[in-house]
Amino acid sequence: MKIRIIILLCTCIGLYILFIGAGKKIPVVQDKDTAYTPIYLEFKIPDGWPKPPTDIFAKNRLTEPGFQLGKKLFYDGRLSKDGNFPCASCHQQFAAFASYEHDFSHGFNNSFTTRNAPPLFNLAWMTKLHWDGGINHIEVQPLSPITAKNEMAEILDSVLYKLKKDTAYPKFFKAAFGSTEINSQRMLKALAQFMGSIVSSNSKYDKVQRGEASFTPGEGNGYNFFKVKCAACHKEPLFTDNSFRNNGMALNAFLQDFGRMRITGNKNDSLKFKVPSLRNIMLTFPYMHDGRYYSIGSAIDHYRTGIITTQPTLDTLLLKRIAISAREKSDLIYFLNTLTDTTLTRSPRFAER
């Protein structure tokens, strides 16, 4: 047992040096009011990327212990009612933190979610979360799955009770926030530090942009097609403009999900959903808010031939559908494959252990 702990400790220190300490200047800022002197981490914006619209770490300064606490919470089943559903049960690293191969994710007591779990990366650029944009801040996002009866099905009080009873958590909270106090604000801020730190910026596409790799002819053709026909909504480099649009799918009769309209109460928002990022698209199937298209081919076919052009709120860019030849479709798929970021999906920094 002792040996295992020592090995674990060494691994942690090693990883810390490898991913944080090495070659990076960490500014040391001292809090004058307290003896607690956190070492703040820098949130690095990839070269050439826009600045996030709001700085999610402005009032929740990123620290290594804060990140580590957030990671521990993210992978802890005790955040759910029966212990089976950590955040990571629906947000799997190998699927770019989406639910791999599931249209709807599984929740407490054999229940289904009502929408396809979105992948988690580049959240620092997202001002509204959820397919309908109902969540206005990354810190309050976890309240939704934790308390939803068909997801983690827990109540916040019980989560905090379980964390307080645990022997390790008080130490983690102290390291992250200066005292052993465990409260909902600290828990949510730590989770935001972990989730907000997940950045996907090292796909082949990114390497091509940086001049470190080059596209094959098929990928290059696909990229050129993408820039003309897709990039208006799936805007580079995030591959989404984070807007809400109706892409012309039939209403799911069972779910009766009208998307953004539920949040705004505005009928002009009927059937509008958030434009998802195309980064890691090959890992995040099935596609659309209800996962109705299993393969990337059928998702593309929707834009070629499937769009219902009579819906009053249909996005104006889709009124005539999108003309895509068979050749263009296969090139586009070659290109979409270059958006998979295995650095992210294999990064030990974001992994459970």
């Binding site: 999610i56 009032k59 929740n60 109902g134 969540i135 206005n136 801040h137 990354i138 810190e139 309050v140 309240l143 939704s144 308390t147 939803a148 916040l156 009080d157 905090l160 409260n183 909902s184 604000q185 949510l188 801020k189 935001a192 539920r262 949040i263 109460g265």
Partner: protein, 254 residues
């Protein structure tokens, strides 16, 4: 004796110096304490949770199981200015006696009106995880559409045709034309003027009459509207009504 003679001038000098210093560099004000107490009633009778059946102005019968609301941005107006409570967020919850009263320091003065907001300002609705009165643990934060429930009333009524005859009002929405945020100004009536004196406590007792939820600007019957749990027109109407439920009942200058 010599010592005494020396001490006196020194004492005066030090007091003078301190005052001088304070006036010049840090204008500290002399304060007393204000204690605000809410009494939740139905037409003047204190609310009894669960056990008593009431009748609204439309003779609809109902019980109350939950009754809570946010009071924020408390300020007291005097002749030529306003004193504001700092970080002023309070959740008044009928089921928690400790939440019905709270105190804060206020500048010595006589005040003419009490100002406050019913609800939580829009900035706090979009600023992430909060603590204290605004902790999501208080069950006043929506998890599907971020924002605070500004006022909550739950109960049962035979006139409600939804499951278990429930009556459920979770009133929220902080932006746009259906914002339910309400600012109130209550003038202290003659004979009830808070006179805040140094080191003393003045208690201001406010009655919140739940009966006002049903009528006021809008007639809202349980039979038509047993449930309101989303922002929108109905929520706005409810807030129009309940914003009128507060009156100053008593001011005690201790």
């Amino acid at each position: 004796m010599k010592n005494c003679l020396l001490t006196f001038p020194l004492f005066f000098a030090s007091v003078f110096n301190i005052n001088h210093y304070q006036n010049k560099f840090t204008p500290t004000e002399i304060t007393g304490t204000i204690k605000i107490t809410f009494i939740n009633t139905i037409k003047g009778t204190p609310v009894q949770l669960d056990t008593v059946t009431y009748a609204n102005p439309f003779s609809e019968k109902y019980t109350v199981s939950k009754f809570k609301y946010y009071i924020s941005h408390i300020a007291l107006a005097f002749k030529d200015g306003v004193f504001k409570e700092s970080d002023s967020y309070h959740l008044v919850d009928e089921s928690k006696p400790g939440s019905l009263s709270f105190s804060f320091s206020a500048t010595v003065n006589t005040y003419q009106s009490l100002l406050f907001m019913i609800g939580v300002d829009s900035i706090k609705n979009v600023s992430g995880a909060q603590t204290g009165a605004l902790d999501p643990l208080n069950d006043m934060f929506w998890t599907w559409n971020s924002g605070y429930v500004m006022a909550k009333m739950e109960g049962h009524s035979p006139q409600s045709m939804v499951v278990n005859n429930k009556v459920e009002f979770h009133i929220g929405g902080f932006s746009g034309k259906y914002s339910v945020l309400k600012k109130r100004r209550l003038d202290f009536p003659a004979g009830m003027i808070p006179d805040i004196r140094e080191g003393r406590t003045t208690e201001i007792i406010i009655e919140a009459d739940l009966d006002k939820w049903w009528q006021g600007p809008h007639d809202l019957k349980i039979s038509t509207n047993p449930v309101c749990t989303t922002p929108g027109e109905l929520a706005k109407k409810m807030a129009d009504n309940y914003s009128k439920m507060f009156t100053i009942k008593k001011v005690i200058n201790n």
